[in-house]
């Protein structure tokens, strides 16, 4: 990760962060279905991360069926990868976003009705 690369933090395992970073590229459409993803070598040389660590991260996406290997050509984004990542994230949406929001609201004494009001846009 070297001096420069801003996307990674120091506390989570790097291979997981690489997998998440690539997943983000898929869900935002920066890497489209059927498109080739950067090779292990490209990722490793550009991010200054050990190739073994990069491979481990990419393999998470392979195991999830989000990317697949074409022999001798490289890795490609699978069909439905975008939808699959979004499905996956929908399942985790409550835990990842709603639960922390409710926790903070409870600490601050903001009621669920207040939150619903904010969501409806009638906050003054």
């Amino acid at each position: 990760m070297g001096v420069y690369y801003p996307h990674f933090n120091d506390t989570e395992p790097l291979f997981i962060q690489i997998a998440q970073w690539l997943e983000n590229k898929i869900v935002t459409g920066q890497l489209g279905e059927g498109e080739q993803i950067p090779s292990t070598t490209e990722l490793s040389h550009s991010l200054n991360i050990n190739p073994a660590t990069v491979r481990k991260g990419v393999n998470i996406l392979v195991d999830k069926g989000l990317v697949y290997k074409k022999r001798g050509m490289g890795m490609f984004v699978a069909e439905n990868a975008n939808e699959n990542v979004r499905d996956d994230r929908r399942v985790k949406f409550y835990d990842d976003f709603v639960a922390p929001l409710l926790n903070e609201a409870e600490r601050l004494g903001i009621t669920r009705e207040d939150i619903i009001g904010m969501l409806k846009g009638d906050e003054d």
Binding site: V3, F8, T11, N48, N50, P51
Partner: protein
């Protein structure tokens, strides 16, 4: 894969034991971090492997053969020292040529290409270079040596951030092409963390960690909260370092963390934090 085995290596200087029964193995195709505080024995270990000094006991072997005084094997091992060992009046290009006498696989073109990348004029004398450039020349010599096991002692000393970034890139490229083993000792730990696959940590001459990076960090936690709550929770745990901040406490612990009571926050430390905790030896709690 080719490997170096180090067996119970011990080195004593008068009263001080610089290295105390260290055993470890280094395989080609891996990048290792050799970490520890100043004076923890890192340089002694590297000097012993490179045959620059001799151990009081223990031995270093490469694929089963003793390395000591075996030029054929020593050519496969390159130890870049943190100290400047080359004569100051020497020109950079002559340093490359001189190296080729011993390291016969030295790639002069590659060395000159690296000089170009880092903006170093090979016709200049070492004395005319800045501190950072002198360090870069030493790393360039190491990368172009053709060795299979490359030890870099503080390879980023005095080097600006742009050059450091480029240097990490060049190390990865050289590693990817040749699968040479790299063993890198540095104090800029978080910056280099991405390069490493495995860590050795030395503390007062002893090897206190020999683990893959993910294991090392995944088994360590930071627990924060009210000092009395943290202390209570830590009763039966292995606490590496405790920092008291007024009525608050932040503790770095090793091993499984579960059943954390409300009011305590749990996270993982960065590698740098973990290392400080492991090699601190100072508990202020």
């Amino acid at each position: 894969m080719s490997r170096i085995e180090i067996k119970t290596l011990t080195k004593k200087y008068k009263k001080k034991t610089a290295l105390d029964g260290v055993s470890l193995s280094i395989e080609k195709g891996m990048i290792y971090g050799l970490l520890g505080r100043n004076g923890s024995g890192k340089s002694t270990l590297v000097d012993l492997i490179g045959g620059r000094i001799f151990p009081d006991s223990g031995e270093v072997t490469l694929d089963g053969e003793t390395v000591s005084e075996n030029d054929k094997l020593l050519r496969k091992i390159y130890c870049m020292s943190a100290e400047d060992l080359l004569p100051k009046h020497m020109k950079v290009k002559d340093a490359v040529k001189a190296q080729a006498y011993f390291y016969k696989d030295t790639n002069e073109d590659y060395a000159l290409k690296l000089c170009d990348i880092f903006g170093i004029d090979p016709k200049k004398r070492l004395s005319q270079l800045s501190t950072g450039q002198r360090t870069l020349v030493k790393v360039i010599l190491a990368l172009s040596s053709g060795a299979d096991f490359i030890f870099l002692d503080e390879p980023v000393l005095g080097i600006d951030a742009n050059c450091r970034e480029e240097l990490y890139k060049q190390i990865i490229e050289r590693f990817d092409k040749t699968e040479a083993a790299f063993i890198i000792s540095t104090h800029l730990i978080d910056e280099c963390a991405g390069l490493f696959e495995h860590y050795f940590v030395l503390e007062e001459g002893k090897l206190i960690a020999d683990e893959d990076c993910e294991e090392l960090q995944a088994n360590a936690y930071l627990i924060e909260g009210r000092a009395k709550d943290v202390t209570e929770y830590l009763k039966d745990k292995q606490c590496l370092k405790k920092t008291i901040i007024g009525t608050l406490c932040s503790a770095c612990v090793k091993g499984e963390v579960k059943d954390v009571p409300d009011g305590l926050e749990v996270s993982h430390p960065s590698l740098q934090q973990l290392l400080i905790a492991m090699t601190g030896g100072v508990q202020d709690g």
